[in-house]
Subunit: 329 residues, 2 copies
DNA sequence: CGACCTCATGACATCGATGTCATGAGGATC
DNA sequence: GATCCTCATGACATCGATGTCATGAGGTCG
């Protein structure tokens, strides 16, 4: 691989002049410039990104850490982040954290060591206070899930409203025994969804029954187990609210043949093609990713600004049929 | 951020000794070692990854470029690559190329400039011969789609066999007018799927009708348009073979109410929950990603070995009901 | 014609970690 | 006690690009 040194030698100038040509410094005579350009072409010069970023003191990558890349919601977020960054010539270092909260810290630390431009994070653990020392050097933007034990830029959906709308809609169909099914209830976003669920019940004068809350329903097997448990109740649910798209997908086979209404938080591919089509709270992962990337890049330029309160993106209820509504055509 | 220099000063040794301690060089006296370790702890020393990789001349990242991260197949591949790499402390630079073949080269060149450890690539363009100069420095492993105009390590599924099995199965159900629907037919993998389809027809003495081949069926709208076109034929298909999972998903709404058998190449989430559940050729994206990462890392250690012929991973037909088979339980 | 200015170019240092070689203390061996 | 060895440690150079400052050629103005 040719270096600036090599190009300089060939063009009969100093390396610094090659650097100037490469960086389009106007203080280079046209003759010199073209000689250098010729030399670059002949040697097929490619700048050494490692050297440049080292000198600059900052890598040209942004980190993106999400629970699971295969979850279409996070895949969309990542793709959106990536497409914003690629416009600026910034690459994206992607990591799936996985379901194990204990893995979060080591995974993120290994990411953060590489002097990222910024980190976009949807955490799985229950506490991120240890991140504060890293946050001094690297702007961190939380998406989908607010940080715990740390102040930082945050972009979330309107979890509370979404859950409220969904639950209220089910109540409107006459259901009073509505299950709330989640994988974990720790994350603030899930907690806010639970709040919305409870608020809707309260507003309609339906009492909250904690037996109707199911956790750990991740994976089809565990989802089925939780459903069995719910249905062993003397008064089993007649409707179910699922707290995220992964859970909804895992829940559907278990719900087959139970004649139960269903609304899920988070849209997913083919939701409209199932029988019945699944009513969902629609989020906008693309917008979320876009905003997060923009925010992270802006933070990098001006890291002094104080963190605003969490930005809340709107959600909407997409009525299909699983909630009990009739086919619309 | 503290540097080795700072630590050295505090511990009263030379930077080189700090480096030795950090790298667990045995030639350091225990006393010196612990003084240095104390200093590191006190200053909260974190190595500068940029400097290390610069000196090493190679980044500690591997590149992964796929057409679309949101496609669950590629998401699985990426996640598998990532989980292999994270064991070795290698990070993954992920890029979605998108559907536009013209974007491929610039996107990849920007990735390759960062002195990757290796590149794992599922290309969308029709020619990758320009990659040969990069391949001299960076091991490239093709996944899912073989390279065109370039010799390189390649991991593909048994496209031909998968398509053969699927088509043969549909023929076995008595269908003779079987549509072949794809997004693009350029990629070698799609071409081999078409070959398998034709081979199965030929073996059963059914003549190939090019009118039954639909392209550009990406996105629900275009998929619907292609379906309309197929059904304007005087003898419309009674069965359809879809050449990949994305197309299958886009095709399903368009096929509704047409009473047509369907087999898709590639499994996808909820395929078994649709009505009818979709029969598919199952690939193993996780294994594909795992092997690709392993191969790329091995190549890096020993770049001299010659490329073996493409490794072909087995596929299998997962019978559900959309092919015409009865429910199994 | 001399003082001053502009501007192209280069020499050198720098970013942080580490490979190479030198140095010198302490010990082993005859 | 002289020679050689072992081994801890440090000085210095290096990876490639680029910021800083110096230099010196050519031009302008009084």
């Amino acid at each position: 691989m040719a270096t600036m040194q090599d190009v300089a030698l060939r063009a009969g100038v100093s390396p610094k002049t090659v650097s100037r040509v490469f960086n389009e410094d106007p203080h280079v005579l046209p003759g010199t410039r073209s000689r250098v350009e010729d030399a670059m072409r002949e040697l097929n010069y490619v700048p050494n990104v490692l050297a440049r970023t080292f000198r600059a003191g900052r890598s040209s990558s942004i980190g993106v850490a999400v629970p699971d890349l295969v979850d279409p919601f996070f895949a969309s977020v990542v793709r959106a982040v990536e497409s914003v960054c690629s416009l600026t010539g910034i690459t994206t270092l992607v990591t799936s954290i996985g379901d194990d909260p204990a893995r979060e810290r080591p995974v993120l630390e290994s990411l953060l060591r590489s002097q990222l431009r910024g980190l976009i994070l949807a955490p799985v653990s229950e506490d991120q206070s240890w991140l504060s020392q890293w946050a001094e050097h690297t702007p961190i933007v939380f998406v989908d899930r607010a940080p715990v034990g740390l102040g930082a830029d945050t972009l979330v959906e309107d979890d509370r409203l979404g859950a409220y709308l969904a639950t209220d809609h089910l109540l409107g169909h006459g259901h009073t025994r509505i299950g709330f099914v989640a994988d974990t209830t720790h994350p603030p976003s899930t907690r806010r969804r639970l709040e919305g669920y409870r608020a809707a019940l309260a507003d309609k004068g339906v009492s909250f029954d904690e037996h109707l809350v199911a956790e750990e329903a991740n994976g089809r097997q565990r989802a089925a187990a939780e459903v069995d448990r719910l249905w062993r109740d003397p008064e089993p649910p007649t409707a179910v609210f699922s707290s995220n798209a992964r859970v909804t997908m895992d829940l559907i086979p278990a719900l087959r043949g139970r004649n139960v209404a269903l609304v899920g938080f988070g849209d997913f591919q083919m939701a409209d093609q199932l029988s019945p089509p699944v009513t969902v709270v629609r989020q906008d992962p693309v917008e979320l990713g876009r905003l997060a990337a923009t925010r992270a890049l802006a933070r990098f330029a001006d890291s002094d600004g104080r963190h605003e309160p969490a930005t809340v993106l709107p959600v909407s209820l997409v009525l299909r049929e699983s909630c009990g509504c009739a086919a619309s055509g």
